[in-house]
Amino acid sequence: MPSLSVIRVISTGVVFLVFLGAAVISLGGVSSPTYWFPAFIAIAGVLASGYSFGHDLSAIRAGESVVDGEVTDLGASVEDGEPQDSAVVRRRVRDWILWLIALPLLSLVLPFFYASLIWVAAVLRFAGKRTWIFIAVSVITFGVVLNVLIVLLAIHVPPALITGWG
């Protein structure tokens, strides 16, 4: 798997293309005021991403990593805490991407409420390696609380599009 620096350069390139596409669309429609502001934003984006792409690329060629700077961001990050084996981290990241996608996929087939309970149970068992007791208790409690919230707050629940089971 390529290093993060390379991924960053690739991403910058992709974003550059996105801005370029937006710029093309906007400039094409620039006769109408609808596209004036987007044109301005897209062109600025092309410039910014182009510069960043070039800058990062030359840094990588010089053998430096571009992902080591500090950045103002918020929330938890996989790098918090003690450094862990990067292969382990990558594996977990990949696993979680799959888990995250699995939830909506499952709820396309089963009603969301039940899909989510099954999903949580699966996550706790296979990713979290929790005991069955823990899973049973926590899933049931969660199910009850969620049910109460859904009914009390009239929360809309996504329908199972594929099977139509609710």
């Binding site: 801005f19 987007p38 010089a62 961001d73 918020l74 862990q84 979680w96 629940v157």
Partner: protein, 506 residues
């Protein structure tokens, strides 16, 4: 006037009205606590209950809900690094690092105290400002609103550590995302690709959950470790935090006033105000500016004070002109209309003045109640930061996906939120700052409309209007100060272009 104030107070204190106030506060705290669910969910549900309610009860409930949501949303922001609502993002920047250092209860104590003080100052300001509201609201036209949007953007770019280009990229990406949907001035759809779901653009709630909330939880799960190993002050941590607030009086009061002022200006969304407060505070403090982002308590006090103060400010255009300052204010207007409460300029008439006081007292009491309730919960709840993520995080993911679905009640919401979450997680990995993205998004569409109206109406003479000039100077000053930053960032940037060396900024 004094009699109206007393009359209003008596109305609020009646047991029935108090009960509804408490109910509103209770629901608001729960909604704030659950990341992703916000005031809008609750208010929409409470609306049917309002029919036929006595105005003081209805106001008590709605305002209680509103105020409590911005108090409760601090819990997940500090304890898990997950913004409870879109308005609580800036709190995470310093609140979460504090939790990681074992100072979760201190952060929470400080936050709730600032909430209370900010909310009360906001309530007082509501009362003082409403008679003066007219010249303020009438005086702030589209050119000034455009400049204010630029100022907000400048502040966020300026608080970004690190290289500038990525911040610009994400900011511009955010603004580009805001362009999806229909353009107000012509009604044409842009960048939608014929997908009906996108005709209204991307919803802010979906963006907020996908951009910050879900990636944060995912990171916690990947790490697998508890947020912090131990608490520094198991007893009295909350009080410690409260005391810290009084040590930083200027930060609290200044940000409360700032929050109120920004709330008054219709057109500056609630989710930007906490960033502006954070950025302004970071700019303006003299000591230890670099500590911001690493767990500086002022970084918690500032946005939390501004957040609650803005509730008072937002009521000014809402009550005076029926211009809702935020989505929740729009629902509030609907609730008021249902109860037959007059809004609009008639609210200044002598027979209606007591209504203003009802709002003022309700705001003050809701903030006080919510803050005290939260502070008492802060001790036990802050132990959450000691739990391993698998105990709570998977459940949170389910709730957040469900919460995202509430915005448009459309499967597109779920697809969007998952896609955004994965992209955002990637952005975090490659060290692209994400705050500029959401700010660019929030301010982008407003900026476009204001610019369009300014240019159409005034050609280019709007640039020379006195208020516009003052604001423009502020924008430039902010950007310059941010570049200069005492570490020669501008010169370093220039030399990096020349010598192709990496620019790294401490």
């Amino acid at each position: 006037m004094f009699e109206s104030a007393l009359e209003a107070l008596q109305m609020i204190l009646s047991p029935q009205n108090l009960l509804w106030l408490v109910i509103g506060v209770g629901i608001g705290l729960i909604l704030g606590l659950i990341p992703g669910l916000g005031g809008i969910t609750g208010m929409a549900v409470l609306l049917p209950l309002i029919v036929g309610m006595d105005p003081a009860s209805g106001i008590g409930m709605l305002i209680g809900l509103n105020a409590a949501t911005t108090i409760g949303d601090t819990f997940p922001s500090v304890l898990m690094g997950v913004p409870g609502t879109a308005a609580s993002q800036a709190t995470v920047v310093d609140g979460y690092p504090m939790a990681r250092k074992g100072l979760a209860n201190v952060a929470l104590g400080a936050a709730f105290t600032s909430n209370m003080i900010g909310g009360i100052i906001g309530a007082i300001a509501l009362f003082l400002v409403i008679p003066l509201a007219r010249p303020i609201i009438v005086g702030i036209g589209s050119p000034q609103l455009f400049m204010l949007s630029l100022l907000g953007l400048a502040l966020v770019i300026v608080i970004s550590r690190g290289a500038l280009a990525p911040a610009l990229i994400t900011g511009l990406l955010g603004m580009l995302l805001a362009m999806i949907g229909s353009a107000n001035m012509t009604g044409d759809y842009r960048f939608t690709g014929g997908v009906l779901y996108l005709f209204d653009g991307i919803d802010l709630a979906v963006l907020a959950i996908g951009l910050f909330a879900i990636p944060s939880v995912l990171s916690l799960l990947v790490q697998g470790e508890a947020v912090s190993k131990g608490m520094s002050y198991t007893r009295g941590g909350v009080l410690r935090g409260a005391r810290e607030v009084f040590r930083h009086k200027r930060v609290v009061v200044g940000n409360s006033l700032l929050g109120t002022a920004l709330g008054i200006i219709p057109g500056i969304g609630g989710s930007v105000i906490d960033w502006i407060a954070y950025g302004a505070t970071k700019r303006m403090v003299k000591k230890d500016r670099d500590n911001f982002g690493k767990g500086d308590i002022r970084g918690v006090i500032a946005p939390e004070a501004a957040n609650n103060a803005k509730d008072g400010g937002v009521l000014v255009p809402t009550l005076m002109f029926g211009i809702p300052g935020s989505a929740t204010a729009a629902i509030l207007l609907g609730g008021l209309a249902t109860m037959g409460v007059a809004t609009g300029p008639t609210i200044l008439r002598p027979e209606n003045i007591y209504l203003i006081f009802v709002f003022v007292w309700t705001l003050a009491m809701a903030n006080a109640l919510g803050a005290i309730a939260s502070a008492s919960l802060a001790g036990p709840l802050s132990k959450l930061s000691l739990l391993k993520p698998y105990s709570y995080a998977p459940f949170l993911l389910v709730v957040m996906v469900l919460a995202a679905y509430q915005s448009g009640v459309h499967w597109g919401d779920i697809v969007t939120v998952v896609v955004l979450a994965l992209l955002s997680w990637g952005m975090q990995a490659i060290k692209w700052p994400r705050p500029p993205l959401i700010i660019g998004f929030v301010l982008g569409q407003g900026a476009e409309n204001y610019l369009w109206i300014s240019v159409s109406r005034y050609d280019w003479s709007w640039l020379t209007q006195p208020a516009t000039v003052i604001l423009g100077v502020l924008v430039i000053a902010t950007l310059v100060a941010g570049f200069a930053n005492g570490s020669g960032r501008l010169t370093r940037l220039a030399s990096s272009i020349l010598t192709r060396q990496k620019v790294n900024d401490a």
